[in-house]
Amino acid sequence: MAEKLDKVDVVVVGAGWAGGITAAELSKAGYKVVGLERGKDKTVEDFIGAKDALRYDARFEMMEDHSVQTITGRRNSDEEAIPLRTQDDNFEGNDVGGSGSHWSGVTHRATQFDFEAHSKTIEKYGEDKIPDDMFLQDWGITYDELEEYYDKFEKMAGTSGEEDPLGAPRSSDYPTGPMKETPAIKLFKEAAKNVGYHPFQIPSGNLSEQYENPDGQTINACQYCSYCMMYGCDFGAKSDPVVTVIPTAKESGNYDLRTNAYVREVIHEDGKASGVLYVDMKTGKEYEQPADIVVVAAYTLSNVKLMLLSKIGEPYNPKTKKGVIGKNAGGFTGSSSGVATGFFEDKKFNLAMGAGALGGTFSDLDSDNLDTSDLNFIGGGIVELRLRGEDPIGYNTVPEGTPAWGKEFKEKSIHYANRNLAIHFKPPNYGWSFNYMDLDPTYKDSFGDPLLRVTMTISDHEKNLRKFGNEKMSEVMEEMGADIIDTEEIPDDWDFNQGGGEAGGGVIMGDDPEISAVNNYCQVWDVDNLFVIGASALPQKIPQQTATVGAFAYRASEGIIKYLEDGEGLLVEPKEKSST
């Protein structure tokens, strides 16, 4: 029997970006907040000297312990799902900071098109452009409406960047200037210009200068040391909840953060949540934490699993295509759709140096700027050439046809170690009727609850995008003067991998409860004092979701305060009739 604790104003599940921002905003406003984090406590001190590629990159130091839980996967409803057993197959951030500590720092906003993908597609190309079985949906909020929250996120995070010449309107400049331009980035930008594109520096959470944010937290200047993505920053120079919102929440005196606290269920009755049930992983003891407001802000997969285990909202049914929880799963099939890798015989680059978000980009091929009338897909994608800093364990880039081991592998992997660059094309993953999440009938977690099951395949639409990406990236790489250009092999099907904090959907946002689970405050339609915040709210998995998740969290926090001040009820009334 769970021990019932004293009631608080708000309980927040998770202490990454979504949970950290919400905890900071609500505790600053004077509300008593309890944070429940399944992993360990983390401070900047944990990251000092953490430049160990085996431990952090190859052995996934900062990721979920699958002896407690993982997910299962299959490629269609007839297949029996298998568990994704190792961290190679499935990794998601763990501990205080969550994915916000190990992320690269790439801080793109979503495009204007992303927010209204359904209506803009019909408006520009007609209804017939949308393939059967694609669940293309508007988010119930526009870019212009979310802009002020993007601005808040970037100012808190200190984002370093310069304006995209073809980008959506911004209310203010980036808080810090763009990162340094390396020879490889210059080469990329010149080539992109020659092809007719408008390149600029990737907006970055690896800061170009020391910065104090409006909450009084200081983020240091990036040293381009390369131990960035998959690591916590040695210097506190990355936009990271551990450096920003977590200390802000703690300094308020209103945030009680409990670690090793694994939440199993949201307790609710008659459309109201009353708290959560969690296990103290050190003692095995169960607790009930009552609260006026419950915020579920874990990683996408845990958000969906918690909703299904708690029996909140109607689970998606692929036969009837009705229901919402688990719908529009995306981001499992890799964030890149089209890659051109170039090998240079007479140029050497300093590839050991870099930072997670260091690189060049252009948005000429993204959905706001690309006319797809004569193309066999919807939308478009962002383009990136990044210099993350290549550690030899993880990077052995060799031309196609080279064996994966032995004499020739050794020779070529050493020869090309500093002579290769790659350009990636990254479109959103749109929702499909056959890609979804539900509970696995066979496999259980260590508490005896079912694992989350993912049913995922690669659609022809995605294959078309990958072909397009390969072609366009190769054109730029050719202009860069590469001697050998390899493009990504287009996979037949999903390879049972979930990596890199890329998963999205499952508790999606919209203006119609028939086809969405939450409104544009991340408020659950069916339980109005429950807010589910994260990439789980994205109706289509956008290529870089962090800034958008952050913006959602700022907007949700504002909504929660409104709810607590003005009394209960839905913050947005549902739209009468579905538009899909």
Partner: protein, 257 residues
Amino acid sequence: MVDNENKTSPNNSNSAQDPSRRKFIKNTGIATGGVVGGALLGGLIGNSYKSDDTSTTKDDTSERQYDESRMFFTRFEDFKVLQQATERIFPEDDNGPGAIKLGVPYFIDKQLAGEFGSNKKDYMKAPSKDIEDVTTYQTLMNRGEVFIEGLRKLNTESQNRHDTKFYDLEEADQDAMLIDLEEGKIKLEAVKSNTFFELLRQMTIEGAYADPLYGGNRNMEGWKMREHPGIRASYIDVIESEDFQKLDPISLKDYQQ
């Protein structure tokens, strides 16, 4: 972007050449009163003292390698197969040492003795199902058990084919057997053969390039072959340089406090 490794770069006197982090401290403004967290400051100061002590580290090759005895493998026979298999995957050549000289077999032995070898952070619950064309780790055997199974099979299969142990075969015959393992033509008990092969391949590369802390990449020779600088505080002063920066590698021993 000229290959400048044989010339002296004009940037050679900057922080990326300097194993200590003193220069870095100046860059970030810590020494000039910039605001940083106390923990960070403590770490940096500690490190700058540390690097003074270690700047004269001697490479004493006559010293005995007390960390090179078997921690996981009980049978020397299994270890001998491992040595030869890793050497075929990452052979000695004109670039430099192969797996054995880099300490890869001992690296793997140590890894298998720890939590990676016992799949501590993996989901190991039954049932074990198989999908024909899927290569994810599905066996309920842990990595240590997979290695024992795989290495012993290489020896028995070698006996059947050539009437000799795997480690006594000619290189070409060893290669042929490893290709058969990779392609699934040599079957293993309760685990797909390419699960074992992929693990063996990946761990060999890890042993060549992981920080020497783990027992491989001996004397940072793996990094030197790749012209990899190892672990350095900062490249802020050289990141924009047109020239390739050839820097002597630094390991965690000289970086952490």
